[in-house]
């Protein structure tokens, strides 16, 4: 997994609540068997007309959004299906951080495993940052995972919550499976003891 330590980048705001994974990456793009290359399909139905033309006034298509790497969104971001293609497509498109008041559970987890950092801030803070990004085309935000802080050049500085273990994995780009396999003997012991105490639950 790609490490995440600190990132400064241009912010763009989509201040809608309940942006679901069906919008982030529509199902017709889930048939691929690769893990990369989903960026071009991000928010496909919002970015393109049915005949494939660019919808110019959609925020991500506006010239000032070019190169944005911090997405600011509304409540319950990433609700819906468990498709990890959603964080893959955001990451592949160029986003490194999503800031929202709340995230759907599975999306939040999936993001951390993709190297995309989901940051929860209060609804007021999110709306302040969204406002600033709308007012100023080159508006940039810095997210420092080590300090668990979000800041900008206009004096905004707030900290956010993230599980320490997740933070540690993300900062070191650690592979979960490798970490878990350090406990291989506990897994085997668990399996052995259930075989002994609950043989009736084995699959034939």
């Amino acid at each position: 997994m790609e490490k995440f330590v600190r990132h400064t980048g241009k912010a763009v705001a989509m201040d809608l609540a309940n942006i679901d994974t069906d919008q982030i990456i529509p199902k017709q793009f889930l048939k691929r068997i690769e893990r990369s290359g989903y960026g071009e399909f991000l928010f496909y139905d919002w970015r393109f007309t049915p005949s494939g033309e660019l919808i110019e006034d959609f925020v991500l298509n506006r010239p000032e959004a070019e190169g944005a790497s911090v997405l600011i969104a509304g409540d319950n971001f990433g609700c819906g299906s468990s498709r990890e293609h959603a964080p893959w497509s955001l990451h592949d498109y160029g986003f490194r951080v999503v800031i929202a008041p709340s995230f759907a559970d599975i999306f939040y987890n999936n993001s951390l495993k993709t190297g995309l950092l989901p940051v929860r801030l209060s609804a007021e803070d999110v709306s302040t940052l969204a406002g600033r990004s709308k007012d100023k085309p080159e508006y940039a935000i810095t997210v420092d995972l080590e300090a668990k802080s979000v800041s900008d050049s206009l004096g905004y500085l707030k900290t956010f919550e993230i599980d320490d273990f997740r933070k540690y994995c993300l900062m070191n780009g650690l592979d979960d499976i490798g970490l878990t396999l350090q406990h291989e003997s506990s897994i085997s012991e668990y399996e052995e003891s259930s075989r002994q105490t609950q043989p009736f639950l084995a699959f034939s």
Partner: protein, 469 residues
């Protein structure tokens, strides 16, 4: 004193350390073609094996066609995805219930049907509706592809414990009010983020009175309420459903299993972090009018008027939803005309759902303006429905009778709404474009969907004239 969730959690801890997520053992891992290819590829790249092929079962459901399945797939990318799963299952020794098998069906339908799903178990699948299996008193939740790879390699999952939410539905469900209406009512009440961070336990006399099919419908949509898992304590209905199924324990094992399962229900006086009470007697059939499962009203009500909503964000989201759905404020729900009707999905495609729908359809023809289809949840259900004469009722009325799969629930195959088409659907999501770009989805119960197919618009199932022939 522990809740059902606490008990299952504790029984599956492999390793825990403070400040870190726990390592939870996974009893059953269900796999399908869409969220698994990258996970198997990850195993290959790292030279890893599937740790417990005997606890891993695969089927194809999401991207497959539901008709003409003897022909090569029209969609080469979907065909490649299915072939990739076949190869992966072969290479890693995983049992696959492929298109030629009677067991084939939607992951959350075939698992319980085969007796793979059991009380007290942990179940995961790369699909958010895995909570369905919670109907059996198992802790079941959806995971992403990286986690699928993690489970394949280690048979465990790193998890932080959620909080306990009790939803008590007491009282008798009125005539015409189904399990689907119960869960739509709950989502309407607590909102689509209301269950975030919780595992829901559904309890109360109305839940106990539901069949296993109905309980699965309720647990299925836990994710639409924001909860990753929803569960119901096992009881006699659970045991009766599981007894004799292909993978269910047999003979002495069965008796021992029941003895264990009886220890699972929440202890009297166990603590819940939050409790919600629902009065079953007050419920009515629900119809969603918007683009989120919480945007719903009962059949007698009208489409809401955003103008009267004080909260600005909520008002904006209502306005946007009405525009997408092409509805007017205060519009009568029964006046909404339909183009399509879809009876299927892991929410409502089981034999009981089909029986309920067929009861409504019997003796009628579908409205000439409507195109309607029934997609059974598994091939076993399809054959059973044919044997019971349900298929003949549907086909006689003008419904298409398809093979098992997810179909128009997510429209990854050819079963897609055209832009602007309006559909009464028994599935679980009414998001923008869920059933096809520009398509408009109204979520309802199977009997409400069936009645709408015949009338050409929504009608109150409580006033339906059932024909006995």
């Amino acid at each position: 004193m522990k809740t059902l969730y606490d008990k299952i959690w504790d029984a599956h801890i492999v390793h825990s350390e403070s400040g870190k997520p726990s390592l939870l053992y996974v009893g059953l891992h269900l796999v399908h073609e869409v969220t698994s290819p990258q996970a198997f590829e990850g195993l290959r790249l790292n030279g890893r094996k599937v740790r417990r092929p005997d606890r891993t079962y695969a089927t194809v459901d999401h991207a497959i066609p539901t008709k003409n399945r003897n022909l090569p797939f029209a969609d080469p990318i979907a065909a490649k995805q299915v072939d990739t799963l076949r190869q992966n299952c072969k290479d890693f020794g995983v049992q696959l219930f492929d298109l030629d098998r009677i067991e084939q069906g939607i992951v959350h339908v075939f698992g319980p049907e085969q007796g793979l799903t059991r009380p007290g178990m942990t179940i995961v699948c790369g699909d958010s509706h895995t909570a369905t299996h919670g109907a059996f008193g198992s802790l079941a939740f959806g995971i992403g592809t990286s986690e699928v790879e993690h489970v394949l390699a280690t048979q465990t999952l790193q998890q932080a414990k959620a909080k306990n939410l009790l939803i008590n539905v007491d009282g008798d469900l009125p005539f015409g009010v189904t399990a689907k209406d119960v869960i739509l009512a709950i989502i309407n009440r607590i909102g689509t983020a209301g269950g975030t961070g919780y595992v829901i336990e559904y309890a109360g006399s109305a839940i106990r009175s539901l069949s296993m099919e109905g309980r699965m419908t309720v647990c299925n949509m836990s994710i639409e309420a924001g909860a990753r898992a929803g569960l119901i304590a096992p009881d006699e209905s659970t045991y009766e459903y599981l007894n004799g199924r292909a993978f269910s324990p047999k003979e002495d094992d069965w008796d021992n299993a029941i003895e264990y399962w009886k220890t699972l229900p929440t202890d009297d006086g166990a603590m819940f972090d939050r409790t919600v009470e629902v009065d079953a007697a007050e419920l009515a059939p629900f119809v969603t009018w918007g683009t989120s499962p919480e945007m719903s009203v009962t059949i007698g009500e009208r489409v809401p008027d955003p103008a009267v909503i004080a909260d600005e964000n909520k008002r904006k989201s209502y306005e946007r939803a009405l525009e997408y759905m092409d509805l007017e404020p205060d519009q009568n729900i029964e006046s909404i005309p339909l183009d399509r009707v879809f009876i299927g999905s892991c929410t409502n495609s089981r034999i009981e759902d089909l029986r309920e729908a067929a009861k409504v359809v019997r003796g009628y023809k579908i409205n000439s303006s409507v195109n309607a289809m029934v997609v059974p949840g598994s091939m076993q259900i399809k054959r059973q429905a044919e044997a019971e004469g349900l298929a003949a009722i549907f086909e006689g009325a003008g419904f298409e009778w398809r093979d098992a799969g997810c179909s128009m629930c997510l429209a990854m195959n050819d079963d897609v709404l055209a832009g602007g088409e309006r559909c009464a659907s028994t599935s679980n999501r009414n998001f923008e474009g869920r059933q096809g770009r520009g398509g408009r989805t109204h979520l309802v119960s199977p009997s409400m969907a069936a009645a709408a197919a015949i009338a050409g618009h929504f009608v109150d199932i409580r006033d339906w004239r059932f024909k006995e022939i």
